[in-house]
């Protein structure tokens, strides 16, 4: 396998594996937020703010993998 092919493969693996965890996390956050909303519809704005913050945290993990992938690809 050539170096270039290995590099492309490592980029794909980095982002693919790195996205698994955050994907599960974001799904859980979303489902729990909807559950909380169903139990307590008055707290919608508080739930939304907390959910978006938690989503940003989970997303940040995927972004770390993305940064690594981008560095591998372009640097």
């Amino acid at each position: 396998m050539s170096t270039e092919a290995m590099k492309l493969l490592s980029v794909a693996i980095a982002i693919a594996v790195g996205a698994i965890g955050p994907a599960l996390g974001i799904g859980m956050i979303g489902s729990k937020a909807v559950e909380a909303l169903g139990r307590n519809p008055e707290a919608e704005s508080a739930i939304r703010t907390t959910m978006i913050l938690a989503l940003a945290f989970a997303e940040a993990i995927a972004i770390y993998a993305l940064v690594v992938a981008l560095i591998l690809k372009f640097a």
């Binding site: 508080a46 703010t49 978006i52 913050l53 940003a56 945290f57 997303e59 940040a60 972004i63 770390y64 993305l66 940064v67 981008l70 560095i71 372009f74 640097a75």
Partner: protein
């Protein structure tokens, strides 16, 4: 396909310093921030105010209410630095989405050959900027922690010799202060830079109309990242100024 570069490109040299395209963009955003702040201050003294004043005021008020839910009555003390973070990062993120930023190219001599580089680059898509912002944020957290707790209690948080478990937790706490810088910096940089790459690639795949939803997404992401940066600083601050048990 345009060349995507992770680091900011050097435009020219000034007294031995390299001026990069992201520094030019940051100077523009910096002046804009100061201009809006002075405009707001000037308008607040007038009797008849313009509509733009009320727009900014609405922004400030909603963000203040959000921080109030985290910090309580201490919000008045910390609001200037938190809102400064929020507003500056928001303007920088949105400045990168303007037409022309990243697409206006100029010729620059590198070594012996001339290359084309973008004249402006979204400032938060440059790792130097986000690390600088993160260091300011984490240092201000330490500063306010020392100010509210005193040096002795501040050090007690990290060096606790009462039992081996607390000692180990203290070491982990020291490490976590450093990792805060990294997580702040990479979160902001990664989100904005990934957005730039996404917009570039989509524009080259489908030239017409396809970029529109992605630009709307990037406007939202820019807002959320500015909010997350300042909100996290607020949460860490509120943890740092209360005594550790």
């Amino acid at each position: 396909m345009p060349k995507i570069s992770i680091k900011a490109e050097i435009i020219f040299h000034l007294f031995g310093y390299s001026i990069t395209n992201s520094m030019i963009a940051s100077a523009i955003v910096f002046l804009l921030t100061i201009f809006i702040a002075l405009y707001f201050k000037h308008q607040s003294t007038l009797k008849k105010k313009e509509n733009f004043y009320y727009l900014i005021k609405f922004f400030v008020k909603s963000i203040y209410d959000l921080f109030f839910s985290v910090l309580g009555e201490k919000t008045t003390v910390f609001f200037p630095i938190l809102f400064a973070f929020f507003f500056y990062i928001l303007l920088e993120n949105w400045f990168g989405l303007l037409p022309g930023v990243g697409s206006l190219l100029i010729k620059v001599k590198e070594g012996h050959e001339e290359i084309l580089v973008p004249l402006l680059r979204a400032n938060t898509a440059d790792l130097n900027t986000t690390i600088a912002l993160a260091i300011i944020s984490v240092f201000s957290i330490q500063y306010f922690s020392i100010k509210y707790l005193g040096v002795k209690k501040y050090l007690h948080k990290f060096f606790n010799f009462s039992d081996p478990i607390m000692f180990f937790v203290g070491i982990l706490d020291i490490l976590s202060e450093f990792s805060k810088v990294l997580s702040f910096a990479f979160r902001l940089f990664g989100n904005i830079f990934a957005g730039e790459v996404l917009l570039t690639i989509v524009a080259f795949l489908v030239p017409v109309l396809a970029s529109f939803p992605f630009i709307a997404l990037e406007i939202f992401v820019g807002f959320v990242q500015a909010l997350v940066f300042s909100m996290l600083t607020a949460v860490f601050l509120s943890n740092a100024i209360v005594e550790h048990h």
